[in-house]
Symmetry: none
Amino acid sequence: MGGHEVSESPLPSLVLDGTSRIVLLVMDGLGDLPDPAHGGHTPLAAARTPNLDALARRSALGRLLPVSPGITPGSGPGHLGLFGYDPLEYQIGRGVLEATGIDFDLQPSDVAARGNFCTVDGEGKITDRRAGRISTEVCAELCAELSKISVPGVQAFVEPVREHRFVLVLRGEGLSEAVSDTDPERLGEKPLAALATATDGEATGKLVNKWTAGAGKVLADKSPANMLLLRGFAKRPSWPQMPETFRLRAAAVAHYPMYRGLAKLVGMDALPVGPKIEDSIATVAENWGRYDFFFVHYKYTDTAGEDGDYDRKADKISEVDAAIPGIIDLDPDVLMVTGDHSTPAIMAAHSWHPVPFMLRSKLGRADGCESFNEIELTKGSLGTFPAKEAMALAMAHARRFRKFGA
Amino acid sequence: MGGHEVSESPLPSLVLDGTSRIVLLVMDGLGDLPDPAHGGHTPLAAARTPNLDALARRSALGRLLPVSPGITPGSGPGHLGLFGYDPLEYQIGRGVLEATGIDFDLQPSDVAARGNFCTVDGEGKITDRRAGRISTEVCAELCAELSKISVPGVQAFVEPVREHRFVLVLRGEGLSEAVSDTDPERLGEKPLAALATATDGEATGKLVNKWTAGAGKVLADKSPANMLLLRGFAKRPSWPQMPETFRLRAAAVAHYPMYRGLAKLVGMDALPVGPKIEDSIATVAENWGRYDFFFVHYKYTDTAGEDGDYDRKADKISEVDAAIPGIIDLDPDVLMVTGDHSTPAIMAAHSWHPVPFMLRSKLGRADGCESFNEIELTKGSLGTFPAKEAMALAMAHARRFRKFGA
C-alpha cells in the first residue's frame, strides 16, 4: 500500500544532541569497473590497501546509488547525496558552486556563472575550450583587467579560480538566473549569445551579452586566452543547514574550491587545508574537539579516473590507504569511506555505477567481507541504497537519532 | 529530506480472492548484533534453531528495513510496515495503541493518552517513572478511584493496562489531540503541564491539566504511585482495513495489548490467546478455517533484548523454534518469519539494524542459505528491502494478486 503522498521525512524531528564524532572520507570518483587489461580487477581491487581491507573486516558494507540507477552525477549531486540531501530536490548551478568555493561573499540577489578562458581562431571559432590551461597567475591578471569593464545597471565581479577557470558575479537590481550558457561545449563553434530561458531572464541575458562583448575587446590580443565562455548562471540557494538539520558542527576538509563551496552551502565550515591526504588528516586531528562531523575530500582518484589512468588511480587509492590509521587513531564513533560517484578509468569519465561504501562503528555489524572492493562488498549487509540515506545511517550509529513512533 | 509526491500504488486493484493461507510470525525485536563476549555471534546465531534452519534451507531470505536506513522504529511503525502500510504515512499515537489494545471502544471524537503511574518526592520531582512497577491489581484500584474525578465539559475514562500503565480517554465536544505530553521522560523533573501543540489544542490542554490536578490529590497518599504521567494524546485514525485492501480475513494472535490494538486498527480480529508460543500455535490451528491471514506475535525476544539479556534472548528464540513444526503442519501457502525491528542485547534497546526475514512458499525460490541468522542471510535472494513490501511478496506467493497491465 503505498501512498497518496509521502509525508515529510521524520529525520529532523528525531535528531538528538550528542558528543559523538562522524568522519565521512570521500575518495572522489572511487567506483570503477573491472579492466581486462589489468587482470579483470578494478583499481580499488588492484591497489595496495591493507588498512582499508582491515577496516572492511570490521565494517558494514554496501554500495551507494548517488542519485538513482543509471544516473551519472556531477560533483554537486554526488556530494549532496552524501550530505543527506536529495540531489533531485536540491539542485545547484555551477556558478554558485565556483563562487562559494573561492570564498566569494555571494549575496542572495547576485547571479554567478562559471567562466573558462578559451582560444578562438580568426573567425571567432573555438579551438581550445581551456586556452591551453593557462596558469592561475595569468588567469588572475586577466580577471583584473576584465573587472574594469563597465556595463550600466550592473556591477560585475571577475574572480580567478584556478588555471583557465574564473567566476563572473553580476550584482544589481532584478537579476535573474534564467540565462543560457555561452559555452557551446564543443570545438569549431563560436561562443553563443546568452539567451533568456524564462521571461524574467531577458534583461540579464542582454547584460551578459554586453559584458561579453566588452570582454572580447579586452582579450582580443591575449592569445591563447583570447575569449571566454560562461555557463551555469545561478543564484545562491537557501537550503537547510547541517548544524540545524542534524545538530552537527560540521567541517569540510577539502582542498579544491568546488567541494569547499558545496560544503558551505549546507552549512559546513570549510577549514584551510593543503592538497595531500596527510594534510587533511592533520587538519581533522587539529580540529577534533571543535566539530562533530568531518567531511574529508580527496580529489586525485577522480582526476586519475578522468584521465583514464588506471595505475595512477590505484596508486592514489593506496596513498589514501596509508593515511587510514591516522583517522582510526582519532577513534571516531562512525567512520564512512566511500566516493561521490564512480569514475571508471576505462571510461575516463564519471559514471552511474554504484559506489563502494563502508561504515565502521561499535554499533555496526561486521559483514564478514575480507576486503574493500567492488566485488567483495556485494556480500555486505547494507545492499545497494541511495547515497542520501547514508547520513541517516551515520546519525543512527552515532546515537544521534531517537526512536521513531511509539 | 524526501520528495514531493508518488503515484498511487497499483496493489489494491490487483487483489484477488483466494483460499490460500498466509502466516506472519513476528519475533519482536528479533534482529541483533554480534556480541564479542559470545564468540561474535548474535543471539539468533547462538540459539538452538534446527527447525528455523531447516525452514531457511527451503526459503527465500533477506533483510527488512522497518522504516528506512538509520531509523529506529517503535512498535507501531515496526508492525505497520509488516502489515503493508507505509509507517511514514500511517502514524499513530501511543494513546490510541494502548486504548485499542485493552478493547476500549474508542469513538472517533475521543482523545486517548497513555498513562504511567510514577513516584514523586516531596518537591514533586519524579524519582521513579514506573512507580516501582506496581501490580496490575493496584493499578486497577487506582484507576477506579481516578475515574471518580469530575471535570466539567468532559467525561474521563481511566482504564488499567498492565503494571504501572493505564489509559486515559477523554470524551466530549471539540476535543483535540494537539496536546503535549506531561511526561518529561527523565528523573528529577516535575511532571509538565499539558500544552497546546496547535491552536485547537488549547481547550483540551486545559482540561487535561484540570484532570491531572485532581488526580494528584487522589494519589497524594498512594506512594509509590503518588503521581501520574501522560503521553501520546491521540485520536483513533481511520485507515484502510486489511479485509478490504487485501481481501484477507485477518487474525491477530497476540497476547500483549499493544499488538492486539495495532492489529485491530488495520482491520484484524484479535483472537484471545495465552502468553506462550504453544498457545499461539493452538489458536492458529483452531481458527485455521476461519481466517486467511494470521499475524502471530511473540513478545519475549524483545523483552530479553531490552533487558540486555543475550542468553535469554537466544533461549526465547529456541522456544519459538520448537513451535515451528506446529505451524508447518498446518501447511500454510506462505509462511513468513521475521521481526518488527532489531533489539540488540548489547544495546538493550530498539535499533535501526535490518531485520532477518524469510518467506517459505511452494512458489518461492530456496536461496541455499544453511541457517537463519543475520550473517548467513546476507546470501539471500531478497536483499535488503522495506518491510512495507513484505506483504506484497506474501500476497504474490499466495496467488492473491492478478497480473499488472496487459
